[in-house]
């Protein structure tokens, strides 16, 4: 029997189907825990989880904080504005300092792709990637898949998922595009040409430069946020223009399979990538996604937070 234990959760790339399914199944138990009178289990009592956020985030940080607390761990939040990085400390020095505090798990978000991998090589703690640059956001993809399984059944084989918007700059899109095929789903990537990765088609995804054909018959429509903070040069004329061509309206949603799920990783730009009435409509599972996030992160902490060991320097 293979060992389901994960030392780190750095990305979906390289993750086996078995590990992904084990995480998703374990999260079901934790969803039940979050709905009980006492929303807490003592499993990680005495363990310390450090939330190390070098980039603004309320949703993901809160979700990890709740997940840690509901597992009985002590959770410490460190955000970039309060950390020594503003005083010039390097990532390595920060990690060495945190290691001396005996963190068992470090949850890290960083604007630089690969930062969690660097930490994993240096730290004694287990490392969970909470979003690194334009690279990966594995727990978001896992909570998206979890939400799909809750609504469509555990077997996602053959389900068609249309991911629409700024694919190129989205770590959510990347992690989902890696995870969903692992679970048997078909992924369609749709976005303006300036926001599509060059070689997406060569790598096996179905790619569209218009939203309508991508939506046709889809079981899930996942809208991405326009990341104004990550867009250097203007890649499209205006938000109004973008909304007119790419926004998910009720009319466009009608192209998808009846009862299709509407998802969004948040925060929403209402009236830009998604119309308000669609976000609040009967197809929307945006709030269940948030609830799933805590359960999935509890599962991630559970599977990563064993005994901490020596740094896993490789490569």
């Amino acid at each position: 029997m293979t060992e389901p234990r994960q030392r780190h959760l750095l990305g979906i790339a390289g993750m086996s189907r078995e590990v992904a399914l084990s995480l998703l199944d374990t999260a079901k138990v934790f969803l039940e825990v979050t709905r009980r009178p006492v929303r807490k289990v003592p499993t990680l009592r005495g363990k310390t989880v450090l939330n190390l956020f070098f980039e603004a985030s309320t949703r993901t940080r809160t979700s990890f904080e709740l997940a840690g607390k509901r597992m009985g761990a002590d959770v410490v939040n460190i955000s970039a504005s309060t950390s020594s990085t503003t005083k010039g400390e390097t990532l390595h020095d920060t990690v060495a300092t945190l290691d001396a505090m005996h963190a068992d798990v470090v949850v890290i978000r960083h604007s630089a792709s690969g930062a969690p991998h660097i930490v994993a090589q240096r730290s004694r703690a287990a490392v969970i990637n909470a979003g690194d640059g334009m690279h990966e956001h594995p727990t978001q993809a896992l909570l998206d898949a979890f939400t799909m399984r809750q609504h469509l059944g555990d077997d996602l084989s053959g389900k068609v998922v249309a991911i629409c918007g700024d694919i190129l700059h989205s770590r959510v899109a990347r992690s989902n595009a890696l995870l969903l095929p692992l679970l048997g789903a078909r992924v369609r990537l749709a976005g303006p040409r300036t926001m599509l990765p060059h070689r997406a088609r060569d790598l096996g995804w179905e790619v569209y430069d218009r939203i309508e054909p991508a939506l046709e018959g889809a079981d899930v429509v996942m809208m991405l946020r326009i990341q104004r903070e990550r867009l250097g040069a203007a890649l499209f004329p205006s938000l109004r223009e973008y909304s007119r061509v790419w926004g998910l309206t009720g009319q466009r949603l009608a192209l998808a399979r009846p009862g299709a799920l509407v998802m969004h990783p948040g925060p929403l730009n209402r009236g830009v990538e998604i119309a308000g009435d669609v976000a609040d409509g009967p197809h929307s599972v945006i709030l269940p996604q948030v609830e799933a996030g805590v359960a999935v992160r509890m599962a991630a902490l559970y599977l990563c937070a064993g005994e901490s060991g020596p740094p896993t320097a490789q490569e």
Binding site: P4, T26, V29, T43, A305, G306
Partner: protein, 190 residues
Amino acid sequence: MRALLDGPDALRGLRRVAGEIVERHRGVEDLLLVGIRRGGVPIAEILAEHLRELEGEVPLGTVDITLYRDDAATALPNPRIGPTQLPIPIAGRRIVLVDDVLFTGRTIRAALDAVLDYGRPERIELAVLIDRGGRELPIQADYVVKQVSVPPEERVDVYVRDGAPAAVIQSASSPSIPPGGPESAPENTP
């Protein structure tokens, strides 16, 4: 490997235990049976049948203790945590926890914590098929089918076949008996 309790004797013992429960509680009102996953669940099912024959229907639940083990954070994470299912609110209920083998008492300690996170029952009792001794915590059973002293280097395995549980003693290092009994072991058991 040697036999400790055969199927017919186990069923007779469980019928006696059902009688003791009914006698002590003067019926089955407000009673809730909770089997500790996984070994306690089939025992709880048999007990529920006997109670039904004697007095009437008793609700039956299950509790999984994986997340409440005192070694949970150091043991290898178990990816197959089962569901805890309590069919009714437990506040004010009289709960009988059911397990197959009572040994160190650590499982029962964990089960108590798990159940109490769902509410405040009036009382909790414990029924087991085998009490083998060797307690590491101050915990005892209220109802016991068979009491026996087994040394720590030996293990008690319970398996259920044809609706009847049976118990055997074997060396602690030997592989576990599969759920269907010793003869149902596939050739290449890991």
